[in-house]
Amino acid sequence: MDITTYDSGRRPVWCPGCGNYGILLALRKALAELKLAPEEVVIVTGIGCHGRISDYMKTNAFHTIHGRVLPLATGIKLANPKLTVIAHSGDGDAYAIGMGHLPHAARRNIDITLIVHNNMVFGLTTGQVTPTTPIGVKTKSTPFGNFEKPINPLLLALASGATFVARGFSAEIDHLKEIIKEGISHRGFAFIDVLQPCVTFFNTYTVLRERVYKLEESGHDPSNLEEAFRLAMQNDKRIPIGVFYKREEPTLEDTFKHAMNPPPAERLPVKVDLSKALTRFR
């Protein structure tokens, strides 16, 4: 299996230089190295430039509505835990309209991987502010500068009880590939925020290149939650990328063991004996 296995043949319509190309490549590489057959994988995408990734992946896919990637992916995984479910979301999709779902996916530890394409701006709607846009940045909807403090996605994920929290950088493709591989292999909710420049509306390449450093090179122990919180709050000129935190815990699917033999998706419609349920009405 190589990366062409996952190429749908459709030509990407992202702007030249878009950070999404790096994520696409890292994802294909990760799947190839994990030797996952395309039919075992479901890519779920939201609305925004990131959402186009499902067009370019030769796997199963569900391109859903704005902000609803996580509940949709949760439904797929609960119905058929055999599938490898990888959700993609943008920073607008995940942290604005879809924010309500993120802490819940994290705390219920559904075994899916969420990759957030975080370019700190709404790209497809031509450059408005998102919840991760830095304060003061002028966008089409904030011509006098962004007046809201940006949220910290990693802190949010950690505080919600996520069992895998990581950050990648789309220009560090092989590093990102390793994170994605680890996230997919992790049993439970894997949260990966990917810093991803929008070359057209908010080009952060230079700044990010200067500031990012790799956690594994600095000797971070990803089982240390307190340290993970401290690193997630690191707000100076250095931005850590890599796996911040990782822990094994029962997953949501485990709660529904009674329904998994066979799982709901593999159930054939057959005659159901309702007599037990009907006793209370007799």
Binding site: R52, S54, A61, F62, P71, L72, K77, L83, L274, L278
Partner: protein, 566 residues
């Protein structure tokens, strides 16, 4: 003051006093004597205090379709109820209450008992007043003691110590009832009928119909009056090996269900109008991605949060139009528990046969009232044409076909990659803006409409009685109309069960050459407007109700009288 059936018993008291529990115990005891039973309730949106009531109406000789205004026996669990429900008593009626509660305003209808003293004697909590007083009713009606104790031990099967105490109290109440020697009420025959039927509510019937239809995934966010579907399914999920889940919102619930259905699970969600409002965006997604989904919408009066615990039929136009864009959908409206069961089953079957969203439109009156009905039919879901395992050939999820239904493979199928896309797409699911493809996809989806329409014409209309004067209705309003029909001659009732697609030809045939009126539980006449739109005819009259209550048969009778139809 005859001893005739039907008999109406009303239980009233503050929330938390066990009004509904008592009504179910009384209803079940009557039911197990082979008597037809109907139970309905009314309650405010609060947990303790306030006032609520439940009414049990019964007769061994005829089906009971609904309540009537007056009660023959009122069981008042507090002082307020003892005073407030005097006006609800029939001519032969009596009101049973604690001596302290009904001390004032004494009249010949009042029967006072030392209920609270008895509770003290038995060291029983105040809440047990409901069973003690129910015992009086059983004594008055001469109920079989075996049946009573059977029902009580089932009611408290998880709390054996309560069962014992409550049984003692009921027996004490029974003695008090026998000693009362009132002669104006019918007596229950001692023999329990062999034929086992069901005493069941609309919500449970919907849950069971879906289960019969192969449902293996259910998600819902709590909302009155749909929540009991969630509670019931949650309780039996282990017996049936299904996933029942309460997520963070209605948005999450329906999107999870759509995800589950895409993966291959027959999925359902249930909510009321407010929750459905939140689900509307995903309704369009289900349509665009052609993912089968069943949505139960249990109506309550709106807009906004409206009257959370009351009933209405005000969401018809909303559900048949909900969501932007155009797409085929199915809207089915059951009127009784039997129809709730069969249409819920049907909803699941249609959703999976045609890959369309199906909305089951219920209402609080249907959802939370109990009717004794014949056994549910034994239904087997069709095997379906979902592709599993391996696919031969070039798979396209949205293949353009003659009947508009594309091959549905499940993710995991070898040689078939399944791409569901909520944006307009080509046959393989890839995003497209090509005008020819956009037109073809729209036409493909709407080709399903023709088949759905023909089912609607065949199964969408039901009639009761004979006559040239017609009452047209939908949903549970059918029940008080059928109750009223018992005293009305030469009137036909036409019930519309399929609201979308609309069975216009079937209804046109039914109405041909007759005068018809429409009765429904809303203000603006939503079914009237659909009939005018589809059939280009205007009813002779319209009776709406919009105070949050179901129709009383009396209101229907006087309306029919005002038309000069009787």
């Amino acid at each position: 003051m005859g001893k005739d059936w039907p008999l109406s018993i009303l239980v009233a008291g503050p929330a938390g006093a066990g009004v509904f529990a008592a009504s179910l115990i009384i209803g079940r005891v009557l039911f197990r004597h082979g008597v037809n039973v109907f139970i309905t309730n009314e309650y405010p949106s609060l947990i303790r205090g306030g006032n609520q009531w439940a009414l049990i109406r019964s007769s061994p000789d005829e089906y009971i379709f609904s309540h009537r205004r007056l009660a023959d026996i009122v069981l008042a669990l507090d002082n307020y109820s003892a005073r407030a429900y005097i006006s609800k008593l029939s001519e032969r009626g009596i009101i049973l209450c604690d001596e302290k509660d009904c001390g004032q305003n004494y009249n010949e209808h009042i029967r006072a008992f030392p209920f609270r003293k008895v509770l003290e004697e038995y060291k029983a909590p105040q809440v047990a007043l409901n069973t003690l007083a129910s015992g009086v009713i059983f004594g008055i009606l001469g109920a079989s003691k075996d049946t009573v104790s059977e029902v009580i031990s089932e009611q408290f099967k998880h709390r054996k110590e309560y069962a014992e105490l409550n049984l003692k109290l009921i027996n004490k109440g029974y003695e008090l009832g026998v000693a009362l020697s009132v002669g104006q009420f019918p007596q229950l025959s001692k023999k329990v009928e062999e034929k086992r039927r069901l005493l069941i509510d609309g919500n449970s019937s919907v849950a069971l119909g879906a289960l019969a239809g192969g449902m293996s995934f259910f998600a819902a966010y709590p909302m009155t009056p749909a929540s009991p579907i969630l509670h019931f399914l949650a309780e039996i999920q282990r017996d049936y090996g299904i996933v029942v889940f309460q997520p963070e919102s209605e948005l999450a619930a329906i999107n999870m269900a759509i995800g589950a259905a895409y993966a291959g699970a027959r999925a359902m969600v249930a909510t009321s109008g407010g929750g459905f409002s939140l689900m509307v965006e995903a309704l369009g997604q289900a349509a665009m991605t052609e993912t089968p989904i069943v949505i139960v919408e249990v109506q309550r009066p709106g807009p906004s949060t409206g009257l959370p615990t009351h009933t209405a039929q005000g969401d018809l136009r909303f559900v048949i139009h909900a969501s932007q864009g155009e797409f085929p959908r199915v809207v089915l409206a059951p009127g009784d528990p039997g129809e709730a069961f069969t249409l819920s089953f049907k909803a699941m079957e249609i959703a999976w046969r045609y890959q369309v969203p199906v909305i089951l439109l219920s209402d609080k009156f249907l959802a939370e009232s109990y009717w004794s009905i014949d056994e549910f039919p034994s239904l087997t879901p069709s095997p379906g044409s979902v592709i599993r395992g391996e696919y031969q050939g070039d798979y396209a999820r949205y293949r353009i076909t003659e009947d508009g239904v594309s091959p549905m493979a499940l993710p995991g199928t070898k040689n078939a990659l399944v791409y569901a896309n909520s944006s307009e797409h080509d046959e393989y699911g890839g995003g497209t803006i090509d005008p020819q493809m956009v037109r073809s996809m729209n036409e493909k989806r709407f080709r399903k409409y023709e088949s759905l329409k023909s089912i609607a014409e065949k199964e969408g209309v039901k009639t009761y009685g004979k006559g040239d004067k017609i009452i047209v209705t939908w949903g549970s309003t059918k029940m008080p109309i059928l109750e009223a029909l018992k005293s009305l001659k030469d009137i036909r009732v036409v019930q519309v069960l399929w609201l979308e697609p609309f069975p216009e030809e079937a209804l046109r045939k039914e109405l041909a050459g007759s005068q018809f009126v429409v009765i429904e539980n809303n203000m603006t006449g939503q079914l009237v407007s659909v009939i005018r739109e589809k059939l280009l005819v205007k009813p002779h009259g319209f009776l709406g109700k919009y105070d949050g209550r179901p129709f009383d048969p009396e209101e229907i009778e006087s309306y029919i009288a005002s038309l000069g139809w009787v």
